[in-house]
């Protein structure tokens, strides 16, 4: 027998006795594993739910774009399909960009709070120690209004809020994370209900103390100078 035939027989024997059983065992064993990639291909809805920790509202709200492309537009102004060059550094309105920071100089060396200091002064950042990217995601950070952005109000509750608040609805996600300071004059325009509620409550509090602080202080002082009585204040006879 020539060596080549011996080698081929050995390979066949090796395949039958070792590789084939291993392949069978491996296939059998793999059937018990949870393989996400296969599910993703098999079911778009399942893939959806893997990322969604919500109640299922998401499917009712989500609308996938059909043939349309995400357009960069200025609300109320139509200047053709692409009014701004996607590479332009002079973009004035960034609410609908795929990369909201496109064209910003020295962007890589900057921190979020360098340009957005006020956005770091809220309960989520200060008390819960959330970082910007835990909600806004990694680069490129799409504009909040961008069609595919997870921050888009149509899916924000499912992709962002539900990470920490399972069960969040679209209405729940309308909570203003970066709420303006209610005491500032600008809040009367940006969030008038909050500003009015704040000032009405402040007026009630200030009114209460304007009335009762001097009243209580005067009462205390007056009792100090009351005439001495056997046991207590002689309210009735010193005047």
């Amino acid at each position: 027998m020539i060596p080549e035939e011996i080698m081929r027989q050995r390979e066949q024997k090796h395949f039958r006795q070792v590789l084939l059983p291993l392949l069978l065992v491996g296939t059998f064993g793999a059937s018990f594993l949870n393989v996400h990639a296969q599910e993703e291909v098999a079911s778009a809805i399942r893939r959806y739910k893997d990322r969604e920790a919500s109640t299922g509202y998401y499917e009712a709200y989500e609308v996938r774009p059909q043939r349309s492309m995400p357009l960069v537009q200025i609300p109320g102004v139509q200047r053709g399909l692409f009014p701004y060059s996607p590479t332009s550094a002079q973009t004035r309105i960034r609410t609908r960009l795929t990369d909201s920071h496109l064209g910003i100089k020295f962007y890589n060396g900057r921190r979020c709070v360098d340009c957005h200091p006020e956005q770091a002064r809220d309960i989520h950042t200060i008390r819960a120690n959330l970082t910007c990217r835990q909600c806004h995601g990694g680069e490129p950070i799409a504009s909040n209004e961008h069609y595919f952005s997870p921050m888009n109000p149509i899916r924000r509750h499912a992709y962002i809020c539900a990470k920490c608040h399972p069960g969040a609805s679209a209405s729940y996600a309308a909570y203003i994370i970066h709420e303006p300071n209610p005491a500032l004059a600008g809040t009367l325009k940006s969030f008038p209900v909050l500003a009015w509620a704040f000032w009405i409550m402040v007026a009630i509090a200030v009114g209460t103390f304007v009335l009762f602080l001097p009243h209580t202080l005067l009462w205390g002082i007056r009792e100090i100078f009351m005439k001495k009585h056997g046991e207590a204040g002689n309210h009735g006879t010193d005047k």
Binding site: R121, T216, M226, K239
Partner: protein, 277 residues
């Protein structure tokens, strides 16, 4: 039997005192957990929160006690319903023994102010002074506003089912400002009137013992004592004043509450300048 000045006049029933004791304890817990969470950026705030197990545990305590307060408020309203003289409505609501405000309270307020300025005679208060009625109804107002907004924030999925999420931003600020108002009012004005006035120093124990000294009451609430003497109800309300260990316990509990309240008030007042609003 002629009442003597060493005796006390019965003012508060055991149930009323228990309501007040519950409010005292629960209010202090809510104030501590609420102020602690508000000032958690400071060492003082974190120190207060550590008593309750930290930032998150304090929230659980705050919510639990808040729910309990609302339940007790409902119980108190039921209790009130049992105390109303339904047969003589609406006249019974405006009686001298009722806590419902009357036009006479406004008149007595200004007369009291005049007395403070040395211009008028001390008013003849009946069973309840206008400041006591204000304190009583302020709790209702506070419980509705703070409790209502607290419920909205405790159950955000439920509340955002009928209002937009930004309503929680509004609820948060209303809750915060009303709570600050309540805390400051109780720890400054209520404590001053009940503890630091010359007439009540170091403590007005009536809400703990249930009775007030006859001599003081005769001067502070002369109309009430005269009314009781006129209709012959005085003897039924005369009780011996507490002494010894009971008196000491009342002092310790009351003064401890004052010390805790002042600690929270001063600590929070210093810390508010170091937190992010």
């Amino acid at each position: 039997m002629v009442p003597t000045n060493s005796q006390g006049i019965f003012r508060f029933t055991l149930v009323q005192r228990l309501f007040h004791a519950f409010l005292l304890v629960s209010f202090l817990i809510q104030a501590a957990t609420g102020l602690g969470r508000m000032t958690m950026e400071t060492g003082w705030g974190r120190g207060v929160l550590s008593i309750f197990g930290g930032y998150d545990a304090s929230r659980d305590v705050h919510i639990f006690v808040g729910r309990l307060m609302l339940v007790v408020l409902l119980i108190h309203i039921i209790y009130l319903m049992t105390k109303v003289d339904w047969k003589h409505l609406p006249k019974s609501l405006w009686s001298q023994d009722s806590l419902v405000p009357r036009p006479a309270d406004v008149r007595q307020f200004f007369q009291h102010l005049g007395w403070m300025l040395g211009m008028r005679k001390y008013p003849e208060f009946d069973r309840w002074g206008y400041w006591e009625k204000f304190d009583y109804w302020a709790v209702f107002w506070g419980m509705v506003v703070i409790g209502g907004t607290g419920l909205l924030m405790t159950y955000p999925f439920w509340s955002t089912g009928f209002m937009p999420g930004w309503g929680l931003n509004v609820a948060f600020w209303v809750h915060r400002i009303e709570a600050i108002l309540a805390i400051a009012h109780v720890f400054i004005i209520h404590f001053f009137i009940a503890h630091l006035r010359r007439s009540s120093f170091p403590m007005d124990r009536a809400m703990f013992s249930g009775n007030a000294g006859l001599s003081l009451t005769r001067h502070e609430r002369s109309a009430w004592v005269e009314r009781l003497e006129a209709d012959g109800g005085m003897n039924a309300l005369m009780v011996p004043q507490d002494a010894g260990i009971v008196k000491t316990v009342h002092f310790v509990v009351g003064c401890t509450a004052v010390v805790i309240g002042l600690y929270l008030l001063i600590g929070a007042a210093i810390s508010v300048f170091q937190i992010t609003w």
